[in-house]
Symmetry: C2
Subunit: 211 residues, 2 copies
Amino acid sequence: MNDHRPDIPTPAVRRLSLYLRELEGLSAQNTQTVSSSTLGDLLGLTDAQVRKDLAYFGQFGRPGVGYQVSEMIEKIRQILGTDKVSPALIVGLGNIGMALAMFEGFRPKGFDILALFDADPEKIGRVVNGLTIHSMDELAETVERKQIKLGIMAVPGSVAKDVAKELISVGIRGILNFAPASLDVPDDITVRSLDVAAEMEQLSFKVQWSD
Amino acid sequence: MNDHRPDIPTPAVRRLSLYLRELEGLSAQNTQTVSSSTLGDLLGLTDAQVRKDLAYFGQFGRPGVGYQVSEMIEKIRQILGTDKVSPALIVGLGNIGMALAMFEGFRPKGFDILALFDADPEKIGRVVNGLTIHSMDELAETVERKQIKLGIMAVPGSVAKDVAKELISVGIRGILNFAPASLDVPDDITVRSLDVAAEMEQLSFKVQWSD
DNA sequence: GGATGTGAATGCATTCACAGCA
DNA sequence: TGCTGTGAATGCATTCACATCC
């Protein structure tokens, strides 16, 4: 869709979402400008880190003043691609998939859940948050018609790899994976995996060895 | 509770959970031993990475043979502290909190959700998955009595910082945070934040700039 | 022969520190 | 003076490559 951006450190891109979140908060309280050090304080980062991160994407700040909040919000949304609304789908409507289907936090961030799929005949036809759960048979046609590029997977670990293949084969380009399984995908497909139980293990480790 | 472990890279600890997940899978198919390279292939990591990670915690492997699956599982669980069951609580029973309360994936990984809390009087008293939702007033007493050290927060972003303070003040040591807010906590408290919308932004970014 | 464990080398990301601009 | 943008220096993590052991 566009030029390759020159190599930007992955952690910097990750933090971009955090900057945006804080900037949106500042904007809500009518703050006009913010310095790298106050933005850093809000997130537990150094001022240098904030400046370097933002500088990867251009020169936004004004020396002596700081960054203009509204301008930065707009610019970061452009960079992340969330200035336009992106259609998305959910596969797997167990507890977590169901919660995500009802989650109100996607819309304001620029994502629109347009379709739900599940393999279980019991669930197909049920309506969640205004959307009907469809059979996997309808996946290809829906993705094509609604131009969906992003998919959220909340399926059992045992079928995760197969479902991911299916999503990719019908044209999905980015997958948010809640299943406890590692997906190996082609280079041009992006996956972010969130394993809730694994995160709990990390807490357990730190808490165990911290006294 | 124990000695400080010598400095182990955070990413290595993160991967430990992934190794455990794959090893549990191998064990379920009765695989006896596994080499660093096959374990790496399963996760998209190099063999050297796997060996270095595991070596941080001791010498588990046998040259010419590999790692014994069952022994490694046991050892990693000890390291993560999930060989014993850890009690945990959930605060905030909106869509996501509710899903987590019903999630069956915690128990087999060594976590036991023992209590649910919410500030909303509408929700207090309702029963979810066998547990009653309690008022925040009962937090301190419950945490004390049930020896809870781990908390899952699924509250609105606007109150997340306050709720975190409250959890910490009653003795919670590790927090899994689903709220879109960054918590600043004392050094001896561990936080892992999962912001679902932010993860979607990451997908959006990568997909946008990948053609 | 086949696989581990590990110093040494490389590659990234963060931090420093300062020139330059408002 | 206050704060940005950025090369240079530092600090970590990953990868290499090989001695070592079953």
